[in-house]
């Protein structure tokens, strides 16, 4: 669909990718300075997937991903401050410092969290889609996972039920070629990961995950179709992880040459040149944008450092909730049982 690109929208794609890149470079630096602990999994190289797909969604669509979650949260609009503060374990963090790098949650933006058990979040992603159908809403659930996650049971069970019940979910496999040190070719016997969808009779699509426009446009088409006719999609986004699996990873399982080769596909560098070629961006503007973003990233570290720790006195306040006395049940109407346009599918 050759429509003339909307300049602001295109620039936002670049901006969002760059913001993720610079934010994580800062986070990495802070980690190396031992200002933060735990695991830190960087998304650098994969920015086009989160940014492109989020650009294709509505704010009320759900998204959920694994522990490599900074990019998704920032793409969805989370501020760098609350993101950085979370890694610092501060009360001002997006999860009040209780979640850390692997658990970025942002309820207001329907960012349903980063999750640390491989595959464990995939049924949750199906659950959001289930809820949308249950309520007869045309919201879509975007569920991201890595190439290593498609071999675990929870993934299988979720995709099978999503297909059975025709849930409005997009299961996006971010195939960055590796699960820690295990190349995707060593974790399954598939020719291409997209083929896994055939085992569920689910519509399956491959997308170039290094091309942000491609990701946005293809996911937009899928979302549009799902809102018309709810059904799940299996999407393989081909991308690449430029950093180690986590900060402790020496990365000996791949050659420098392989890494360099993939860096030629850098989603940010490439897209910026495209925009410049198209006259939507000048080199100077790009530099200015980068400077702005770097300033925000630096600022986020100051914010995190100067933020208070979580309140020790509330240590036990996040285990159980007080049941909300003002909760209003929705009584079952006579038509209650027939009101869901999609109910048929639940017994399909």
């Amino acid at each position: 669909m050759a429509k003339t690109p909307d300049k602001a929208a295109e620039l936002k794609l670049l901006y969002d990718m760059l913001a993720i890149r610079r934010f994580e470079e800062k986070a990495q630096q802070q980690y190396q300075m031992q200002k933060i602990g735990g695991f830190l999994h960087l998304y650098i190289g994969q920015e086009a997937v989160a940014v492109g797909s989020v650009a294709a969604t509505r704010p009320d669509d759900y998204m959920i991903t694994a522990y490599r979650d900074h990019g998704h949260a920032l793409a969805r609009g989370m501020g760098m401050n609350e993101a950085m503060a979370e890694i610092f374990g501060k009360a001002t963090g997006c999860s009040q410092g209780l979640g850390g790098s692997m658990h970025y949650f942002d309820k207001a933006r329907n960012m349903m969290g980063g999750h640390a058990i491989v595959g464990g979040h995939v049924p949750l992603g199906a659950g959001f889609a289930f809820a949308a159908r249950y309520r007869g809403e045309d919201r879509v659930s975007l569920c991201y996972m890595g190439d290593g996650a498609i071999n675990i049971g929870a993934f299988h069970e979720a995709l099978n039920m999503a297909a059975l019940w025709q849930l409005p979910a997009i299961f996006i496999c971010e195939n960055n070629q590796f699960a820690m040190g295990t190349a995707a070719t060593r974790s399954n016997h598939l020719k291409e990961l997209v083929d896994r969808g055939a085992g569920y009779n689910m519509k399956s699509v491959v997308i170039d995950g290094m091309d942000v426009r491609e990701v946005r446009d293809r996911i937009s088409e899928i979302c549009a179709s799902i809102r018309q006719k709810p059904e799940p999609y299996w999407v393989e986004c081909r991308t690449y992880r430029y950093r180690g699996h986590s900060m402790s990873d020496p990365g000996t399982y791949r050659t420098k040459e392989e890494l360099e080769k993939h860096k030629k596909d850098d989603p940010i560098t490439n897209f910026s040149s495209v925009l410049i070629k198209e006259g939507l961006l000048t080199d100077a503007e790009f530099k200015k944008m980068d400077a702005e973003i770097k300033a925000l990233a630096a600022e986020s570290v100051k914010f995190a450092e100067s933020s208070p720790n979580p309140d020790l006195a509330r240590l036990h306040d996040f285990t159980l909730v007080e049941t909300d006395p003002n909760y209003r049940p929705v009584p079952t109407t006579p038509e209650g049982k027939n009101e869901n346009p999609f109910q048929c599918h639940f017994t399909a």
Binding site: M112, L124, F128, E157, T319, T332, F346
Partner: protein, 332 residues
Amino acid sequence: MEMREITYRQALNEALAEELDRDQNVFLMGEEVAQYNGAYKISQHLLERFGPKRIIDAPIAEAGFAGIGIGAAMVGLRPIIEFMSFSFSLVAFDQVANNAPNMLTMSGGQFHCPIVFRGINGPAHQLGATHMHATESLYSNFAGLKIVIPATPRDAKGLLKSAVRDDNPVLVMEVELLYGAKGLVEPPMPEYDLLVPIGKAQVVRSGADLTILTYGRGLAMSLEAAELIATQHGIQVEVVDLRSIKPLDVETIFNSVAKTHRAVVVEQGRPFCGVASELCFQIQEHIFDELDAPLRRVSMEEIPVPYSEILEHATLPSMEKIVAAVQKVCGV
């Protein structure tokens, strides 16, 4: 208000029907819950009444539909997930123990999970080593879950209804061997809205000489044993039904044991790191000086449950074992 005598099974069925009727956000999902009316008929007639949107047959994929329930709960629905048996929840263990109860902490308080996991749990009849696990001790080691185990039809109904209205993940562990048991229960809604509070134990039989702390299947056996001991030895046994494993009603427990100075715990599962061991720790920690004798426990033998009926009987807690334990503690 007329009390009625209904079965534990009917009580659970009423609880489901009343909560489904009260709130469209409530739905029931599990294997065979809809068209089959439930493997144990707990969901009898619910499909007819509430339709396929609310009563949902799931494939055999416990981890998957437990997780779908957790996701649905995070966005405001109130799922009731049936495990045909909590022994089968072991394939969904990570979802139930490591996802649902952690969501509130991991999200810094943004997301909670108003979800109920329910199904049979613990000893049944000749189902073999894999099918009769008493999982309460496993799940109770995790923080962020509530666990109830009703021993009577009234508690079955009242605790399940309270569980559905609780904003936290609640495990309702039912006792298959009690499904046919009868008891008095208040009339159904709209006439009466029976809610039994989670976290409150009940003194079912009072006595001055020894306290039996029990729950679920153990209650009937303990009451039987208490009568026998009263007639045989004139020993008056107090029987406390815990009803909730978590939170635990320590006040009622401590009060009873502080009065009788002796206790036997009758649990459903194996002893090692079981419910009895936890009760023992808390009792001695708080009312050490009140204890005149060591606590004893009646548990499953520490072996995988064999199929043979006589071996199974020898493996599971029994009235005879309770009597023996009480005699031992009382030195008679």
